[in-house]
């Protein structure tokens, strides 16, 4: 009797210990997020205060090392927005139709091969995208559009569009495959052709999943630094399709190595702005996923 009681209390203790370990591990993740957030806010605010929020966000000249330095990041913000929008315009149609094809039309063998290729595309390091872009895409754009130099916003958009394809395709395929077969069967039974069924029934049923895929793509595109740094020319101009431009991410990455003083602080502020953008995108993602669960 005594023995049994002991084992039971030992078990209970053990359970508590394991519970504690899991809680601790869970807290590490939250701790990291909190740490980064607090650190970014603390190190990002002083420069914004010193420069002035309006001048910082809406100033159109970035010259941190000039004799009279100016710290306006509007060119970076607009470039990031245009670049991401461009990548979505190019990448989403390709990704969406590939996903519909893979989920609904493709024969098993082809589907297997294409899915493998998509996975591989996702696994390629971004510096490789950048390098290939620099060696092939940039000279190609120069010749095609008869420019003096091909490093421009367009090159970055093309690279980003390719880079967001895997996440869009994979998530859309999952969403489309999760559509209950009864919906499609019902549609087919009512006399709709398979194509009508896919685009009128399956796609609307999976729309929140597809929307989430697009938002995920936006997040990937706006956060990418290495690849766009190598093909976009990296000069703080106002964005234009054939202009040499600099993104929010590359502004931080390219100058952080040597920056000091206010320039360094301002780079933290740029990172803070980027962080706010990504938080907004995450909020949007949560919204779409929640919508999915409700329906």
């Amino acid at each position: 009797m005594e023995m049994k009681k002991n084992t039971r209390s030992w078990q209970k203790h053990m359970e508590q210990v394991v519970y504690g370990i899991f809680l601790l591990l869970g807290l590490i993740t939250i701790g990291c997020v909190l740490l980064i957030t607090v650190y970014l806010v603390i190190s990002g605010i002083p420069a914004i205060r010193q420069i002035g929020l309006v001048e910082f966000l809406f100033g159109d000249t970035w010259k941190p090392t000039a004799a009279e330095p100016s710290y306006g990041i509007l060119p970076f913000i607009l470039t990031s927005v245009y670049g991401t929008a461009g990548a979505i315009v190019l990448g989403v149609p390709i990704g969406f139709f590939t996903a519909v094809y893979l989920a609904k039309m493709a024969p098993r063998k082809i589907k297997l091969v294409v899915e493998q290729a998509v996975s591989m595309l996702a696994g390629i390091p971004s510096v490789v995208y950048g390098l290939v872009g620099m060696m092939v895409l940039v000279p190609g754009i120069r010749e095609l559009f008869d420019l003096s130099d091909g490093a421009c916003l367009l090159a970055a958009i093309v690279v980003l569009a390719v880079m967001i394809l895997p996440s869009i395709i994979k998530m859309s395929v999952t969403a489309l495959e999760a559509v209950p077969k009864e919906y499609e069967d019902a549609s087919l039974a009512l006399g709709a052709t398979p194509e009508e069924t896919w685009f009128r029934v399956s796609v609307p049923a999976a729309k929140s999943g597809i929307a989430a895929a697009v938002v995920l793509g936006v997040g990937r595109a706006i956060g990418e630094a290495m690849a766009v740094m190598m093909v976009s020319g990296n000069v703080a101009n106002m964005p234009g399709l054939f202009e040499s431009v600099r993104f929010l991410t590359t502004a931080v990455a390219s100058e952080m190595g040597y920056a000091s003083g206010l320039q360094r602080q301002a780079l933290f502020s740029v990172a803070l702005v980027l962080f706010v953008f990504i938080m907004l995108i995450n909020a949007a993602l949560n919204y779409f996923l929640k919508g999915d669960r409700k329906s």
Binding site: S148, A253, Y258, S260
Partner: protein, 267 residues
Amino acid sequence: MKKIISFALAAVLSLGILAGCSKEEAKQVSTDGSTSMSKVILALAEAYEEKTGTKVSYNGSGSSAGISAVLEGRADIGLSSRDLKDEEKEQGLTGTVLAYDGIAVIVHPENPVADLDLETIAKIYKGEITNWKDVGGNDAEIVLIGREAGSGTRDGFETITGTEGVCAYRQELTSTGDVITAVAQNPNAIGYASVASVKDTVKALTVGGVAPTEDTVKDGSYVIQRPFVLVTKDDQPLSEAAQAFFDYITSGDANEIITDAGVVPAN
């Protein structure tokens, strides 16, 4: 008995800590200054630590900050990628040239232009000359390729050509390799890179008729170059470890390492 043992143990341990302290302090050399010199100093520090066990620290704070660090006694050796100014010398500092950093101006191999003078290069980078035909080349727009703000090579190039902060770059890249690749890809491009890193994929221009080589950089006839200076105090001798490191890197024994780091040794 137990007490005595634990006391003895504690005493031995604390002695160990003290010993560790004094040893560490004696065998530390601190350097502070120019970010452009980081590559050569870190290579030298690594080789020296392997050879003697002495640790050499490096803090990349910029030439002026490094000079004041020596003046305030925060570093043993200051690193400056420019000659000392007269007022700095008057404060009791001596500069010893460790090496010369030559910056080559590079173009695409098919570009017919082979020589430019310093003034023309400055005009090109300021955007006053925008077409290759004005300097004897093809009728094509000149594409300016440079480094990011804060880079040592950019700082060196702009200081020497007198174009600080006014260069109208088309591309600002973040490494020497990227600049060389970009210039090699574009027949209308012009860029700059340290002399030692120039490869066959691009053509290095002669400046005022002088080709950028180790010899012309060293004797000063190639003008786009600047000294890498070790800054020390006149009145106060270096610590033993710092003096030994100083002697080693200026003796000529370390020249191979200096050359490997892309600059031309002075001694």
